[in-house]
C-alpha cells in the first residue's frame, strides 16, 4: 500500500505540474500582458499544493485506518485533485506564482531545520525523562556517590563511582598514549615533513580514523589483551584477560588521528610572522616550535585534547569487547574495570522490561554521559573562541 500511495502522490503532483504549466502557457500565448512568473513556476505552485494536500491526507488516513488500508492512497488522490481544483483558478498573468512557490520552499526548509533541532530535543527529553523516572525509584545521592554497582543483584545497588573510576582509568591510559603520539606526529607533519611524506602520512591517519570501533574492539580483545596478558605473565605480573591497559591502549590509538589532525590545523594557523620573528633571532627550528609556536597554539591544543577525551569517554564498542563487566573500583591498569558505556550496553541489550530500575538506570547513565561530553565540548569550543584573537 505504501508503494501505491507514493505512486498516487507522484502522479497527482506530476499532473498538477503539467496542468499548471500549460494553463500558464495558454495565458501567455493569448498575446496579452506578460506573466509575472515563468509558466514552470505556475506548474510548481500547483504541484506543491497538490503534493501537500495529498501527503497530509495520506498521513491522517494512515493514522486513522492503519498504513496498509486502501483508504490511504485513495484519500491522497482525492485530496490532491481537490487541491488542484481550488488552486487552479488563481493562475493568471498577475499571479505571483514564483513568490508563492518560494514561500512554500522556505517553509519546507524551515521544517527540515526544525528536525535537526528536534533531534537534540528528542535526545535530551528521552534521556532526561527516563532518568527522572529512575531517580524516582533510586535516590540521586546513592547513584552519584555509591561505590557498588550491582544492578542484577538482590537487592540491586546503583552506585556509579566504580564506573566513573573505570571510565577515567581507561580514558587516562588512552590520553597518555594518544597525547604524545598525536601531538608529536602533528608537529612533525606541520613543521618538518616534506610534502611527499605529508602526502603519505595524512591519508594513513585518515585510514586509521576510518577504522570502525568494532574492528578495533576485536583487535583489542583478541590480540592486544592476550599479548599484554602473556607479557605480564612472563615477568610475573598478574594481568587480567580484559585489562584496562589493553582497552586503553587501543582506544588511545583510535583517538590519535583526532588529536593529530586538530593539532595540525592549529599549528598551521599560527602566523608565519611569529616564526619569522623567532628565526630572525637565531633560534633553531625546534626552539621556535617549543618556545613560540606551541605556546601560541596551546589553547587550541588543549581544546583538541578535551575533544579527544570527550570522544574516549563516549566510546562504546572497544570497551564492550575488550574491557570487563565487573564494576571493580580500582586504579590498577592491569585489572579489569568497566565503564559507563559498557554498562549502558549490557543493561539494555537483553530482555526488556522497560520500567524496571535496572533498565532505567541505563538512561540515568546515559544522561551522565551526555552531560559530561556536552560540558567538555562546550568548554573546548569556548577556549578556542576566547583565545582566537590572540595574535590577530
Amino acid at each position: 500500500m505504501i508503494v501505491w500511495t507514493v505512486l498516487v502522490v507522484a502522479l497527482v503532483a506530476g499532473s498538477a505540474f503539467m496542468l499548471g504549466q500549460s494553463r500558464a502557457r495558454g495565458l501567455r500565448l493569448a498575446g496579452g500582458p506578460m506573466l509575472h512568473s515563468l509558466p514552470s513556476y505556475h506548474g510548481l505552485y500547483l504541484a506543491a499544493g497538490a503534493l501537500s494536500a495529498a501527503i497530509l491526507a495520506a498521513v491522517v488516513m494512515a493514522f486513522a485506518t492503519g498504513p496498509q488500508s486502501l483508504a490511504v492512497p485513495l484519500s491522497a488522490g482525492l485530496a490532491g485533485v481537490a487541491a488542484v481544483r481550488t488552486l487552479l483558478p488563481r493562475i493568471s498573468t498577475l499571479f505571483r506564482a514564483r513568490n508563492v512557490f518560494e514561500r512554500f520552499v522556505t517553509v519546507l526548509l524551515v521544517a527540515c531545520s526544525a528536525v535537526a533541532i528536534l533531534a537534540t530535543v528528542g535526545i535530551v527529553f528521552s534521556v532526561l525523562f527516563e532518568s527522572l523516572r529512575f531517580f524516582s525509584e533510586v535516590p540521586v545521592t546513592s547513584f552519584l556517590f555509591g561505590t557498588v554497582w550491582a544492578p542484577t543483584a538482590e537487592p540491586p545497588s546503583f552506585g556509579i563511582v566504580p564506573l566513573l573510576v573505570g571510565t577515567l582509568l581507561i580514558t587516562l591510559i588512552a590520553i597518555l598514549v594518544a597525547g604524545p603520539l598525536g601531538l608529536l606526529s602533528a608537529i612533525y607533519m606541520a613543521e618538518y615533513a616534506s610534502p611527499k611524506l605529508r602526502g603519505i602520512a595524512k591519508p594513513l591517519l585518515e585510514m586509521l580514523a576510518g577504522v570502525p570501533t568494532v574492528v578495533l574492539g576485536f583487535f583489542a580483545a583478541l590480540t592486544v589483551a592476550p599479548l599484554i596478558r602473556s607479557a605480564g605473565q612472563s615477568i610475573g605480573l598478574p594481568v587480567a584477560s580484559e585489562s584496562a591497559l589493553a582497552a586503553g591502549l587501543v582506544m588511545g590509538m583510535m583517538i590519535v588521528p583526532l588529536i593529530s589532525s586538530l593539532s595540525d590545523d592549529i599549528i598551521n594557523a599560527v602566523p608565519q610572522s611569529l616564526r619569522d620573528g623567532s628565526y630572525a633571532m637565531g633560534a633553531t627550528h625546534s626552539e621556535t616550535i617549543r618556545r613560540v609556536v606551541l605556546p601560541a597554539a596551546l589553547p587550541g591544543i588543549v581544546s583538541a585534547f578535551m575533544l579527544a577525551i570527550s570522544r574516549a569517554i563516549g566510546e562504546t564498542m572497544i570497551v564492550v569487547m575488550a574491557a570487563g563487566l565487573a564494576a571493580n573500583l580500582t586504579f590498577n591498569p592491569f585489572a579489569a574495570v568497566t565503564t559507563i558505556t559498557v554498562q549502558i550496553a549490557t543493561l539494555l541489550v537483553g530482555d526488556q522490561e522497560f520500567d524496571s530500575a535496572k533498565t532505567l538506570s541505563a538512561f540515568a547513565l546515559g544522561f551522565v554521559l551526555f552531560l559530561f561530553t556536552l560540558t567538555l565540548n562546550f568548554i573546548a569550543l569556548r577556549i578556542v573562541q576566547r583565545y582566537r584573537e590572540q595574535y590577530d
Binding site: L109, A119, G122, I123, S126, L181, T284, E287, I289, V349
Partner: protein, 416 residues
C-alpha cells in the same frame, strides 16, 4: 664596533652543538611518533588479514555418492535423507572403521550441511536418481581448521589420520567459500555467511541516506542562506555542533526510548536502525554542507542577483551546483561512518540471531558491524576467523567509499 660583547663574539660552540643535538632529538621524536602510529595500523591490518583470509576458502571432500532410488523418493526428492547417504559414502572410504564411537567421530568430520549442495542438485534434476554422482561435500569447521594448519589440538590424532588419508588419496579439495556471501548466519561456523548482514546493512543505510541527505542539505541551505542571523540561529548552530559530538550510544538510547518504546516501531528493523543512524549522521552533513556553501565565492551569488534572480533562484540555480561536490563528498564519508556504527544498532535490538535475509524495511535484520560483534563473542576458533573475514569485507567497502570520496574531492577541487 659594537661594545657590549664578550663571550658572544666567539660564540659558545658547546652550547650551539647542544642546541643542534636537541634539534635533532626533537625532530626524531616526531618521526618516531608517526612511525609508531603507522606500525600500529600495519599490525592491525596484518593481524586481521592473517586471521580472516583463510575463511574465504573451505575444504571439501570429493565423494562418489550413489543415489539409491530406495532412499530418495522421486516424487518428493527434497525429503530424501541426503545427509545419511553422504555419511555412508564417506564411511565407505574407511571400511576399517566399525566401532560406534569411531563412526561418530568420522561423521563429525563432515559438516551437518554437507549434503545441501547434493540435495539442491537432485531436487533440480530428479532424473539423477539412480546414478552415482561425484560431488564435493563440506567438511566440519574443526576438520577445515586442521587442514588449514591450525587447530591441530581440536581433533584427535585418529581423526587427523583419516583426513591425511583422504588427502593422500586426492579426495580433498580447497576452494573459494562462496557461501560466505550467499548464506545467512548459522550456528555452525563453516555454514555461516554474511548475506543477511549485507542486505540488512544495505537497507539500513538506504533509509539513513534517504532521510539524512535531503534533510541535512535543506537545513544547511536554510541556516546558511535564508535564516536571519540572530541569537536563535546561533543557538541552533551551537546545538548542531554539539549533536555532532554526542557519543553514538546516546543516539541508541534515543532510538530505544522514542522509536521503539513511544512509537512502537518494530525492533531490530532496518527502518528504525536507519532512523537512528540518520539522526547520527545529520549534524555532520549539515555542518559539511554549510561549509560547502560558504566556500562558494560571494561573487557568484552577487552576479546572479545582479541579473535579477531571486534569492532562492540564486541559491538553487547557481550556488547549489557549485556546492554539490563538497556535499557529495561529506555524504559519502557520513555513510561510511554510519556503515561502521554498532552501538546504536545494538540498542535498538539488533542482537538476535538472524538467519534469513530481511525482506522489507520492517523485518528483523542485522547489520554487518553487528554481525562482526556477535561472531566475535562466540568461542569457536573458526568463528574468530569468520569475524576477521567479515571485517575484511567491511573494511574493503569502507575503503572503496573513502576512495570514491577522495577521488571526487580531487576531481572537483577548484582553486578560486
Amino acid at each position: 664596533m659594537s661594545n657590549m660583547t664578550d663571550t658572544f663574539r666567539t660564540g659558545d660552540p658547546a652550547l650551539v652543538a647542544k642546541r643542534y643535538r636537541a634539534e635533532r632529538r626533537f625532530r626524531s621524536y616526531g618521526a618516531i611518533a608517526l612511525g609508531l602510529t603507522a606500525l600500529f595500523l600495519a599490525f592491525l591490518i596484518a593481524d586481521i588479514v592473517v586471521k580472516g583470509w583463510p575463511s574465504f576458502f573451505e575444504h571439501r571432500a570429493i565423494l562418489t555418492v550413489p543415489l539409491d532410488p530406495a532412499r530418495i523418493d522421486a516424487a518428493s526428492p527434497q525429503n530424501g535423507d541426503f545427509q545419511a547417504i553422504v555419511k555412508d559414502a564417506f564411511r565407505d572410504q574407511f571400511p576399517g572403521v566399525t566401532s560406534r564411537g569411531d563412526r561418530k567421530k568420522l561423521n563429525a568430520l563432515l559438516s551437518i550441511g554437507a549434503a545441501d549442495g547434493l540435495r539442491d542438485r537432485v531436487v533440480a534434476n530428479p532424473s539423477l536418481i539412480g546414478s552415482a554422482l561425484t560431488v564435493p561435500v563440506l567438511l566440519s569447521d574443526d576438520a577445515d581448521l586442521y587442514l588449514k594448519g591450525h587447530g591441530a589440538d581440536r581433533i584427535s590424532d585418529q581423526e587427523a589420520l583419516w583426513l591425511e588419508a583422504l588427502k593422500d588419496r586426492g579426495f580433498i579439495e580447497k576452494g573459494i567459500a562462496w557461501r560466505f556471501f550467499t548464506s545467512g548466519d548459522s550456528r555452525e561456523a563453516e555454514l555461516s555467511g554474511l548475506q543477511a548482514a549485507l542486505v540488512g546493512s544495505l537497507l539500513t543505510i538506504a533509509v539513513t541516506l534517504l532521510l539524512s541527505l535531503p534533510l541535512g542539505v535543506a537545513a544547511a541551505i536554510y541556516l546558511e542562506e535564508f535564516a536571519a542571523k540572530n541569537r536563535f540561529t546561533d543557538f541552533i548552530e551551537v546545538n548542531i555542533n554539539n549533536l555532532a559530538a554526542v557519543p553514538s550510544i546516546i543516539f541508541g538510547l534515543l532510538g530505544l526510548a522514542v522509536f521503539l518504546n513511544f512509537f512502537g516501531l518494530p525492533r531490530s528493523a532496518p527502518l528504525v536502525g536507519g532512523l537512528v543512524l540518520a539522526l547520527l549522521v545529520l549534524p555532520t552533513i549539515i555542518i559539511a554542507s554549510r561549509a560547502a556553501f560558504k566556500a562558494v565565492p560571494p561573487s557568484v551569488k552577487e552576479a546572479a542577483l545582479g541579473v535579477g534572480a531571486s534569492h532562492q533562484q540564486a541559491v538553487f540555480h547557481h550556488m547549489l551546483p557549485l556546492a554539490v561536490p563538497g556535499i557529495l563528498t561529506s555524504t559519502i564519508l557520513g555513510v561510511a561512518r554510519a556503515l561502521g556504527e554498532t552501538a546504536p544498532l545494538l540498542m535498538i535490538g539488533m542482537v538476535a540471531f538472524i538467519v534469513d535475509v530481511p525482506g522489507s524495511f520492517t523485518d528483523a535484520a542485522t547489520a554487518l558491524p553487528v554481525q562482526i560483534y556477535l561472531w566475535s563473542d562466540l568461542p569457536e576458533i573458526a568463528f574468530q576467523s569468520r569475524t576477521a573475514a567479515a571485517i575484511i569485507v567491511l573494511m574493503t567497502v569502507l575503503f572503496a567509499l573513502n576512495g570514491v570520496a577522495i577521488y571526487l574531492r580531487k576531481r572537483f577541487e577548484r582553486r578560486w
